[in-house]
Amino acid sequence: MKKAKSTLSSVLLVCLSLIWLSPIYIILANSFKSRDEMYVNPLGMPVKFSLEYYSGAMEKMNFLRAFGVSLVITIVSVAIIVVLCAMAAWMMARSDGKLSKAIYYTLILTMLIPFQTLMMPLMQEMNSLEKLLGFQIKDTIGGLIFMYIGFGAGMGVFMFYGFVKGSLPRTLEEAAIIDGCNTWQLFWRVVFPLMKPTIITLVILDVIWIWNDYLLPSLTLKSASNRTIPIGTQIFFGQYTIEWNMAMAALMLTIIPVVVFYLCAQKHIVKGVAAGAVKG
């Protein structure tokens, strides 16, 4: 009885997911169609499955190079964001001072600013900063990562803060301090491992954001050797015409790595991590 119910539930879930995914079916189907086929047969399956638009898209975008650039930017930015935000959030959550509250609210409030209003002052400021410091920030991968850390800070701190306040037992830390841990050790050996579910979640969310982001990289990265995947994809979007089949093939190529990554990452959101630690 119970098993039957669970199977039914599974089937229902799959059905729902498929309906949910129907728009993606259109992307997939149309990435195999030529322009005239799209016109005659907008919703049906493609007549033939040829990978010509995929190989065409890969070639035009210089896919492998762009993939590498995107990968480096995403991994480095996310890693730094996670570590820095975890530290900052933990510190803020554990202090009762007014100031740490103020910083916390400043951080989350900045998440409310639409990026479009920041970009002009931001780029002008980066320019003055370049002159002040004497090295290049714009059009460098490092500079872009630096900006991602800035824009990612609000969300990261916000999520870790919620976790520390809500699910991280203070008793555990107190016990560790009695055992002779200093703050540094306490963070790395006790707090950070316990944050695993939040870390994984934040990593997933930030990876998606940075991997797909177009506007910020397009403003900073100009040289041909620095193109990310979303920048490369723009070659299919003309002033008047869009090469839909190539664009959709490119989109499929862009999202497949993220989906694979998500499937791998979600296994690590293990049940009851914190509880286990308290017991042990």
Binding site: K60, A88, S100, T106, M120, M123, K222, Q239, Y240
Partner: protein, 425 residues
């Protein structure tokens, strides 16, 4: 632990305060224009043999890359083509120019854009081939030539010669009755599409361009001296739109792709488009005879031809880079390889006297012929109209017209109000 937190907080607050000061200092120093640009060129890394190029047309992106390679092979100067930016092109360009990291050579697409960034445009007056380009096509600001036309483009009623006899379309009434007759047979006579420029930009240019002095006319409209609803050309224009609303598929539901597809597969007799649309139609391999004619207001048959984009050179670039950029443009417009790319690879209609292209598509040929015969009207939408008005005001008003029972007069009054408001701002 508490101590650490306090220390951290203190540090943070210090940072905030410092940056606030920095911010204030920043904005005040930036508000004096020209104070900082003199020494920048010296500080920028000097790359003696490289220029950067940024332009909007994705249609020619690939050919442009090849051309850059060919140029490097011939002259040893590297041309780096920046990635396409699609709809974000101008925003992106403005941001990069404003932060002193702009491209060496770039394109601009309207007079209002040129006005906005004119402080960043180098004088191109010394280019040798300028004399061979019609003066009217050049962009001139404060006595300096700042932009060179990429090509000319033309739009009007693109017709299918087998479905419609344009010689019978002698005036507005003929077109209106044609729309009604064809709809009885289930055919759309004049297909429009939903995109802002196609819905409320290009076609609306006709009644403006048909005035005796379009430039002066625009000013009269902005100052309130003339009301669009009182002008016969505009009344006829509204009449045509009303007929479309009454008898045809709602343009708001038609995308550009469908628009061109319908035409290329002979489902609509005419569409209002320009020679650029051939690129989309060619996917369907249309075999019928096609051409472009004007909107028959007052019996007009002239099409609208103008310059969509001009090449500009960044005045913030080093003198050396600017010189290289000039060399590049000269090469593009005068050398054998350069002109080959312009005409055969990009498919551009030539703008330099004596240059004749043999590989134009049918629509571009029609435009080139109209230019040669002088059967053309000027563009006002990218020269006289207030910046951004098409997408922010005119398109929404036109959408309202197509989704409600607004009368033609009400429509013209709404357009009029938008023009006055935008020109006054």
């Amino acid at each position: 632990m508490k101590k650490h937190v306090k220390l951290l907080s203190l540090l943070l607050s210090l940072c905030i305060m410092m940056t606030c000061f920095a911010a204030c200092g920043n904005s005040s120093s930036q508000s004096t224009p020209g104070s900082s640009d003199k020494n920048t060129s010296a500080e920028q890394p000097v790359s003696a043999s490289k220029i950067t190029l940024f332009q909007q047309k994705a249609e020619i992106a690939e050919q442009l890359q090849q051309m850059a390679k060919a140029y490097t092979a011939e002259t040893g100067v590297e041309v780096e083509v920046w990635a396409q930016a699609g709809d974000e092109y101008y925003t992106n360009l403005k941001t990069s120019l404003s932060s002193e990291s702009g491209p060496t050579v770039f394109t601009l697409n309207s007079d209002s854009e040129i006005n906005e960034v004119k402080d960043y445009l180098a004088d191109l007056g010394k280019l040798s081939f300028l004399g061979n380009i019609q003066e009217a096509l050049l962009a001139v600001r404060d006595g300096k030539t700042v932009g060179i036309p990429m090509t000319v483009e033309g739009f009007g009623l693109v017709y299918n010669g087998t479905l419609v006899d344009v010689s019978k379309m002698t005036d507005t009434d003929a077109l209106v009755s044609m729309i009604a007759e064809n709809s009885a047979n289930g055919i759309d006579t004049l297909g429009l599409s939903q995109e802002d420029y196609f819905l409320a930009g290009h076609m609306l240019n006709f009644p403006f361009a048909l005035q005796e002095d379009p430039k002066a006319f625009c000013q009269k409209v902005y100052s309130g001296e003339v009301k669009l609803a009182d002008v016969p050309e505009f009344q006829q224009y509204a009449q045509i739109l009303s007929a479309i609303r009454e008898h045809q598929t709602n343009p708001i539901e038609v995308t550009y792709d469908t628009n061109c597809g319908d035409f290329a597969t002979s489902k609509t007799a005419m569409i209002h488009q320009g020679n650029w649309a051939y690129g989309v139609m060619s996917a369907y391999d249309p075999k019928f005879d096609m051409g472009i004619t004007g909107l028959p207001i007052n019996g007009n048959s002239k099409i609208c031809v103008g310059v969509a984009s001009v090449w500009c050179v960044n005045a913030d670039a080093t003198a050396e880079e600017q010189a290289l950029a000039m060399d590049f443009l000269t090469w593009l417009y005068t050398s054998e390889t350069g002109t080959h790319y312009m005409m055969d690879e990009f498919g551009f209609i030539p703008v330099v006297d004596g240059m004749e292209s043999k590989s134009l598509d049918p629509l571009s040929t029609a435009v080139a012929e109209a230019v040669a015969e002088g059967n053309i009207l000027p563009w006002t939408f990218n020269t006289e109209w207030p910046a951004g008005i098409i997408s922010t005001d005119l398109a929404p008003i036109t959408q309202e017209f197509f989704t409600s029972s607004m009368t033609g007069t009400e429509y013209l009054e709404a357009l009029n109000a938008a023009f006055v408001a935008a020109a006054g701002a």
